[in-house]
Symmetry: C2
Subunit: 186 residues, 2 copies
């Protein structure tokens, strides 16, 4: 039985309305009204956001490049992989290599997609692409941080990164998704 | 060098204000004003949410229990693991076993934490706990869905679940985090 023709598949809800509640700089808070099965209706809040990209960058010695930065949601420093918002019309791999260079000063000759995910299909409408860039090198041009960016970059042995994941030192869900895709790709 | 005493650690920002913008049923949109390094200030939006729990439930035959449901953010059906919002003061393992029973009708004698993560430390302030429940059985009491819940439950061989992850059939980032923790636990 394929996924799509399951007899017990839940219903797709019918969209009735979709309106902006609050513009929040790089994402918007919106509300959608749905007509549910059995003719019920309900309003549901969600975040309208551009797609994101995250980069697993590996050095010639096989180390993975991690960054640490202050995060406003958790109000704490967070260890994760470099990444950011994909520009309008920008290719996810190009965006990943751009974010890598801007945030860490590391560059790669090429990259490829490892996979993608919905950061949270319950409340976000976007996709996060996970890019792998091998043989990264520190460029002379240095970093190019956004106004509020301040990052620490660190190359770490691959085994140590997985050990950190196991010890819950890597908190960001998307970084952990990246690690799973990286492992499935090996 | 330990994580905490790094010489290049980014700064912790100083909180100046924190206000409610919009109550969104099970989470709130809020804005925090921060004083940044170099005496700059900035306002940042974030989602104030209770903690979540997700359950990796395994049958006596070694299959993993997956659910599919309509998700309002992605406006699509989504394959993921059972889970939900932890009640005030509720133990994460207890919450996980409760959500498992309510959503799927499966019960377990016990569960244990596999790990936790920040679903998105950039815009969310909460934690998602990942619980493992082994030897789950379908109870006679059946499911107990919330008003807007309609789920399909399916037991799948473990290898097939990882294959689905590889083929991007499992989109929910938190489900993928759960798979990583499950794998690191084996």
């Amino acid at each position: 039985m394929s996924v799509s023709d399951s007899a017990q598949a839940p219903s797709l809800w019918e969209l009735v309305d979709d309106r902006l509640l609050q513009s929040c700089r790089v994402w918007d808070l919106r509300a959608r009204r749905y007509r549910l099965p059995q003719a019920k209706e309900g309003e549901f809040y969600y975040i309208d956001s551009r797609d994101w990209v995250m980069v697993i960058a590996r050095s010639p010695l096989g180390e993975l490049l991690m960054v640490r930065q202050f995060r406003c949601g958790s109000a704490a420093l967070s260890w994760e992989f470099p990444g950011g918002i994909i520009d309008e019309g920008e290719d996810p791999v190009v965006a990943g290599l751009r974010e890598l260079r801007e945030e860490t000063g590391y560059v790669a000759q090429s990259g490829r997609l490892l996979g993608h995910c919905s950061p949270n299909p319950a409340i976000l409408n976007n996709t996060c692409h996970i890019v792998f860039a091998d043989q990264v090198q520190l460029a002379e041009s240095g970093t190019e941080w956004d106004e509020h960016e301040e990052l620490e970059a660190r190359l770490m042995p691959e085994a140590e990164v997985f050990q950190w994941a196991k010890e819950n030192k890597i908190g960001h869900a998307l970084a952990l998704v990246g690690l799973l895709y990286y492992q499935l790709d090996q």
